[in-house]
């Protein structure tokens, strides 16, 4: 699996899928995204959201390309369908059958092995169910992913069970550090190095190290009109990769916080555009005024501020006119193509992923 160079972890929300959809064909061919299946937006007709809608969208955007498929564990993004797919009965039969049922639409899928102890009260039963799942996945797929949170302590037990059913070479292991901060970065990297050391007991195909430092609400920590944050995930990866003396693959959350944001609701929002660079993200933000009362005018103003920055020009020079850069340019010229925070999340992601590929 040495052809994998970057694993962005992407939830199947509207904003994130749009960011991926608008990547160039060249960039799409260079990344191996992990799509974390979430429910669709709740509506009057679908009060709990639907995963089929998300799958249809995924098919449009990424159908025949290679990607990793996982199920979300975020309570805000799950529904009964996802809970059922994570059911461990009969060796995770629901998940296995589901993967079989979508193989035609998604021929290059790499599934994530599911681990759940719900309804299980002893270790033997717990590992037997994992083994049964691994046995079926081994028959049906060339590679599988084992993804676990950095603080998870039982990964060796899980991997021992999985490796009894398949060659370790088939396994791509993703160590997911989740949300990391500058303050805790050294603790996380020490922990990651020791986890990687323990993984050396297993003959794994490859190891991905993923994290994100994007705040759930950046303006809480940055300024009212301007703010900037270090991209800790990049520094974290470099530090761990050099300390662990291991050939790790870079992964991140493509500038998204792991937890789903609750809708602010009713009071509107303050237009903000985030601009990723190599080591940090900066943003400009502008509250629409009585003079510039429309969101369009406010986004134009913010886009001008962003595109006038030297750091913006450096990134633009490096990656050229990707979709995200085009959106900022259009907005700065007075033609913003989207007036919602969700649209500008897609723009941020799109630029970040494109830039990462040019760096890695």
């Amino acid at each position: 699996m040495s052809d994998i160079i970057y694993v962005p972890i992407i939830k199947t929300s509207d904003a994130e899928i749009r960011g991926v959809e608008n990547l160039s064909e060249d960039i799409k061919s260079k990344i191996t995204p992990l799509f974390e299946l979430t429910r669709s937006r709740k509506s009057k007709n679908i009060p709990r959201g639907d995963i089929i809608r998300r799958l249809n969208r995924l098919e449009e955007v990424y159908g025949t390309r290679q990607f990793i498929l996982d199920l979300t564990a975020d309570p805000e993004s799950r529904n009964k369908q996802i809970e059922d797919l994570q059911d461990n009965s009969k060796g995770y039969k629901n998940w296995i059958n589901f993967l079989d049922s979508i193989k035609e639409e998604f021929p290059e899928i790499i599934p994530v092995i599911q681990i759940s102890d719900i309804g299980v009260d002893n270790a033997k039963d717990f590992y037997d169910r994992i083994k049964k799942q691994a046995e079926r996945l081994n028959k049906n797929f060339n590679n599988i992913v084992y993804r676990f949170p950095l603080e998870y302590e039982d990964f060796k037990g899980d991997l021992t069970a999985v490796c009894q059913e398949m060659s370790g070479e088939k396994i791509i292991c993703i160590i997911d550090a989740g949300f990391i901060t500058q303050e805790k970065s050294s603790i996380y990297s020490t922990k990651a190095v020791s986890v990687i050391e323990e993984l050396k007991d297993f003959p794994l195909g490859s190891i991905v190290l993923a994290a994100t430092s994007f705040h759930k609400n950046p303006t809480e920590f940055g300024g009212e009109k301007y703010g900037e944050f270090r991209l800790e995930e990049s520094l974290f990866y470099e530090k761990v990769n050099s300390k662990a003396k291991s050939d790790l693959i870079y992964g991140d959350y493509a500038t998204i916080n792991p937890m789903r944001s609750q809708q602010a609701g009713g009071r509107g929002w303050v237009p903000r555009i985030d601009m990723p660079t190599k080591d940090l993200i900066f943003y400009h933000r502008y509250r629409k005024s009585e003079i510039e009362a429309s969101y369009a005018k406010a986004y134009t103003r913010v886009a001008k501020l962003v595109s006038n920055e030297h750091r913006y020009k450096v990134v633009k020079k490096q990656i050229g006119d990707c979709w995200g850069i085009e959106q900022i340019e259009l907005a700065a010229e007075g033609y913003p193509q989207g007036l919602s925070p969700s649209f500008w999340i897609s723009v941020r992601m799109n630029i970040h992923i494109t830039l990462r590929i040019s760096i890695l």
């Binding site: 681990i115 997911d176 759930k216």
Partner: protein, 183 residues
């Protein structure tokens, strides 16, 4: 994430300070409680705080204050003062709220004074985050839904199971999309 674990089948040993630093979500805190052999329904909030190295003290606080969480400079350890005049359910909520600050915000501030809970205001602000954290650990979504499915739908009964106030329960029900269940 592919992993949903509530019980550890392996002997993990004692958690160290570095591992405590990694507890920054309600799910991780509940996993920690399970690993430590503490009750999660209803949550032994005081037990969790103590296992995290926080000293919990029930004392008289000036009017309106529910709790204070601060880092004691002399002992270099965290202390949680809970208003001893309050109802036990309120005290549990206070501890859970302060656990939210401890897990999410202690690198930003070393003293938190809390007066009124359930107030409105800006989502995503630290107080709101601590409230959300408290609700999530006292009334975990999965267990809440399991109880509803198993037929426990009376507000008072549910509040009794989780040992929270009916107001806290109703707010949690609304936030996890269960407000249509006679709640």
């Amino acid at each position: 994430m592919a992993i949903i674990r509530r019980v550890s089948f392996t002997q993990s040993g004692n958690i160290c300070a570095d591992d405590i630093a990694l507890i920054d979500t309600p799910e991780k805190l509940l996993k920690f409680a399970v690993d430590k052999g503490l009750d999660t329904i209803p949550l032994d909030a005081k037990g969790v705080a103590e296992k995290l190295g926080i000293r919990v003290e029930y004392i008289s606080l000036k009017e309106g204050l529910s709790g204070i969480l601060y880092k004691d400079k002399e002992s270099n350890s965290w202390v949680l003062h809970v208003n001893k005049e309050h109802h036990p359910n309120r005290q549990r909520y206070t501890i859970a709220h302060e656990l939210g600050h401890f897990c999410l915000h202690r690198h930003l501030k070393q003293r938190f004074e809390d007066k009124i809970f359930f107030r409105g205001g800006e989502p995503n602000k630290p107080e709101w985050q601590a409230n959300e954290f408290a609700s999530s650990i006292l009334m975990p979504e999965r267990e809440f839904k399991d109880m509803i499915r198993s037929g426990v739908r009376n507000v008072e009964e549910l509040a009794k199971e989780f040992q929270v106030s009916t107001l806290a329960l109703r707010i949690r029900a609304k936030n996890i999309g269960l407000s249509g269940h006679g709640l």
